[in-house]
């Protein structure tokens, strides 16, 4: 405890420099814009802006990118409340009561409660992250290749299960991602695999062109030429203050949403989306007036928004402690660390304390910045929604091209982005989720090396994955998930996965 607090003070001393505070502020502002703008999700936003951090030191770079991440989560609620259009999938539940409040002339308090809830959830989750990540990393130091392989296998199966839609399709996306990750030089033997003589493919296909292609370009391809957007409500600053009753009604949902969000956020998959569903369902279940839900209940905004932000920070726990991303956004953050020469994994916290504790401290600062800036500036952010899409999408396309090119100064990457864009567009048409593919690409080298090393350790005996206790637990977890996935084939019941799929499709 004492060491943790000491480290946190050290982190604050890192953040409280003019430069890092500036980058935290810029990250939060850009993130909010990314969250507000349709067609630019947090993943594409972070990927496109990754090259802008190349000139920065690793601490400032990760502070900036993390700011974009939680800023985007924050910004998504604005469009949900004012336009009934979720900025990203996790804001779907906020649409229901947030927009109903806006129609009753209470858009300001809905935005304020969303911001306050997000701030409290974000700050409390950072405390959880701070206390949970270091011991988890120490525990993971005892992992060998079999444990790592089964951990990743379990994580990928959980991801396939927790992502909405068909699990068969999700698993095939993971396998396809792993196959894309096989392109390039084999780390253990030096063989060129599936490169077709292109030297630029020697290092494999990067996460940035894949993520920008699958999430940025495919979004533009699918949405360009759409009809005019609906009118946007514009709240005034003086209308933002919630009443005493609204504040009182929000306390419980914020607390429950935070706890739920953080715990669910650690699980791989669409954790931040699931957490909002669970939070909304719980609030409605325990409410004395459930009939108010759907007609503008403040609890329906406070709970899901808190859960969403807590989950997005909970998702950083496995990434920072184990070097294992649980979703595409932590995967891109992981790639960003690697671009800056940092190897994530159980030794990350021990070897890079400045970056880890700087990031933790920056989250406290960032959450405060978001609260202080977002509320007064909400009417300015709303103006971004007035940009016609026919002007917006060519601009986004330009940022995609420049962002991808700048990573390696390679036009092959721009080509990969284009191919991935078309692939992502077609996959969306065919009802596939593309997020598991991104994670497959990122995890492919680690999972393959762990697998081959484990087999080398056991002289080809596959039982090594069962004989080692930790490894067998992860394997059991994967089997349980597969059995749970098979269950709906026998008992047809509309469960949370169906609702999740629907929400992701509608967002």
């Amino acid at each position: 405890m004492e060491t943790t607090l000491q480290n946190l003070f050290w982190g604050f001393s890192t953040v409280f420099t003019a430069t890092n505070l500036f980058y935290s502020l810029i990250g939060c502002l850009i993130g909010t814009m990314v969250g507000v703008l349709p067609g630019v999700g947090p993943l594409a936003g972070i990927s496109m802006l990754l090259p802008t951090t190349f000139g920065l030191n690793p601490t400032s770079a990760i502070i900036l990118l993390a700011g974009i991440y939680y800023g985007a989560m924050y910004g998504g609620s604005t469009t949900s409340i004012l336009m009934r259009i979720p900025g990203e999938a996790a804001s779907v539940m906020t649409c229901i009561d947030g927009y109903a409040m806006a129609q009753r002339g209470r858009a300001g308090p809905a935005l304020a409660i969303a911001a306050i809830g997000s701030y409290i959830a974000g700050t409390l989750s950072v405390i959880g992250l701070m206390f949970l990540a270091p011991p988890l990393a120490r525990f993971a130091l005892g992992f060998g290749p079999p444990e790592y392989f089964t951990l990743l296998l379990c994580g990928l199966v959980v991801l396939g299960y927790m992502t909405g839609g068909s699990i068969i399709k999700n698993l095939s996306m993971i396998v396809m991602g792993l196959l894309f990750g096989m392109i390039g030089i084999d780390q253990m033997t030096g063989y060129f695999r599936f490169s077709y003589g292109l030297v630029a493919l020697g290092d494999g296909i990067g996460i940035v062109p894949v993520a920008v292609g699958l999430f940025g370009i495919s979004e533009i391809l699918a949405t360009a030429g759409q009809a005019k957007r609906p009118e946007v409500l514009k709240p005034r600053f003086r209308d933002l203050f919630p009443s005493r009753q609204e504040l009182k009604d929000s306390v419980g949902p914020i607390g429950r949403g935070t706890l739920l969000g953080f715990l669910i956020g650690i699980i791989p998959g669409s954790a931040h989306i699931i957490s909002t569903f669970v939070s909304y369902a719980i609030e409605r279940r325990i409410s004395k007036h459930p009939e108010r839900f759907g007609k503008g209940a403040i609890e329906g905004v406070a709970g899901p928004e808190s859960a969403n932000n807590a989950a997005s920070e909970g998702a950083l726990v496995p990434m920072l402690a184990l070097g294992v991303p649980t979703g595409p956004i932590p995967a891109v953050l992981l790639a960003a660390l690697m671009v800056h020469g940092i190897n994530p994994g159980p030794l990350f916290i021990k070897e890079q304390p400045v970056i880890f504790w700087g990031l933790i401290a920056s989250m406290y600062v960032g959450n405060l910045v978001l609260l202080l800036l977002n509320l007064p500036l909400v009417s300015i952010f709303v103006n971004f929604l007035r940009i016609p899409y026919k002007i917006l999408y060519p601009t986004i396309l330009m940022f995609c091209v420049v962002g991808v090119y700048a990573v390696n100064s390679s036009l092959v990457d721009v080509g990969i982005m284009s191919v991935m864009g078309v692939l992502g567009y077609l996959l969306r048409k065919l009802d596939f989720e593309t997020a598991p593919m991104v994670l497959g690409v990122v995890l492919a080298p680690i999972i393959e090396v762990s697998f081959r090393q484990a087999l080398a350790m056991s002289n080809g005996d596959y039982l090594i994955f069962v004989q080692r206790p930790i490894s067998s637990i992860f394997l059991l977890g994967a089997i349980v998930m597969i059995l749970l996935a098979v269950k709906p084939l026998i008992w047809k019941k509309r469960g949370w996965r169906d609702r999740l799929t629907e929400a992701e499709k509608n967002s």
């Binding site: 759409q226 330009m398 091209v401 081959r452």
Partner: protein
């Protein structure tokens, strides 16, 4: 609540025989959520389980119809699907009857082909041994797994959305954007970032979106030159300058 036509037909038939029971069943069905019919005459016929026409009109027939209707009621309440989902469902699916080329089957077929392609391309990579797997070992495992998943999609995909029903309203825009991406890929190093972007943005704003001339000019020049300044000059991220240094 809309009751499925085949069930409606059964109810009409049973009403002629035992109006009160039929009414009870109708009202109890009317209280359920609408779902597809689990067992109907047409599917029974398609599966080779012919339902005699006499069942619809004879008093004896209602002895068979009543448990059938009750089964329907139970199946609606518990939503028991049994192992039907493991089987190809084209036999009892309307969509499947119209077109068996569902999006699931097409995508499953594509995954199988991709798996076969990887297996073929992997032949130049050594497999190694089980104790020392070579560079081709893991890709082969993945390709086999992909083919299995694709196969499941092909087999189970009969009930999915028809491929022909897919709409492509954004197709024209999508082709234009894709063309711009390819143009950037092949032209940017030859003619430089700024000229490439002026051409791409000019094309999208002017020809695809038909903005006003002053808007096209202002947006194109400001965005192309502005991003070059931010990335290349300010952030020191080198962008291509092209043959003549611009």
């Amino acid at each position: 609540m809309v009751i499925d036509p085949p069930v409606e037909a059964l109810l009409d038939a049973s009403a002629a025989i035992n109006p009160s029971t039929a009414q009870d069943v109708r009202s109890s069905l009317g209280n359920q959520e609408p779902i597809c019919c689990d067992f109907d005459v047409s599917s029974a016929d398609a599966n080779g389980l012919s339902v005699p026409r006499s069942l619809h009109s004879s008093r004896i027939g209602f002895l068979f119809l009543e448990p059938l209707l009750q089964f329907r009621q139970v199946s609606v309440n518990k939503r028991f699907v049994g192992f039907r989902n493991f089987l190809p469902s084209s036999s009892h699916s309307e969509a499947g009857e119209k077109s068996k080329m569902t999006i699931d089957r097409i995508s499953g077929g594509f995954l199988v082909l991709l798996g076969l392609f990887v297996t073929w391309e992997r032949r130049v990579l050594p497999l190694g041994t089980q104790g020392h797997p070579g560079p081709g070992y893991f890709p082969l495992l993945l390709a086999i797994f992909l083919m299995i998943l694709g196969g499941i999609l092909v087999i189970r995909g009969g009930r999915g959305e028809s491929f022909r029903a897919l709409k492509w309203p954004e197709g024209r825009h999508a082709l234009a954007i894709l063309g711009c991406c390819l143009f950037a890929t092949f032209a940017m190093e030859g003619i430089g970032y700024r000229i490439t972007m002026i051409i791409i943005l000019g094309f999208l704003f002017g020809i695809v979106e038909r903005l006003k001339l002053w808007q096209i000019f202002t947006l194109t020049v400001a965005l192309a030159l502005g991003t070059f300044w931010v990335f290349d000059s300010f952030l020191k991220v080198p962008l291509p300058r092209g043959g003549w240094g611009f």
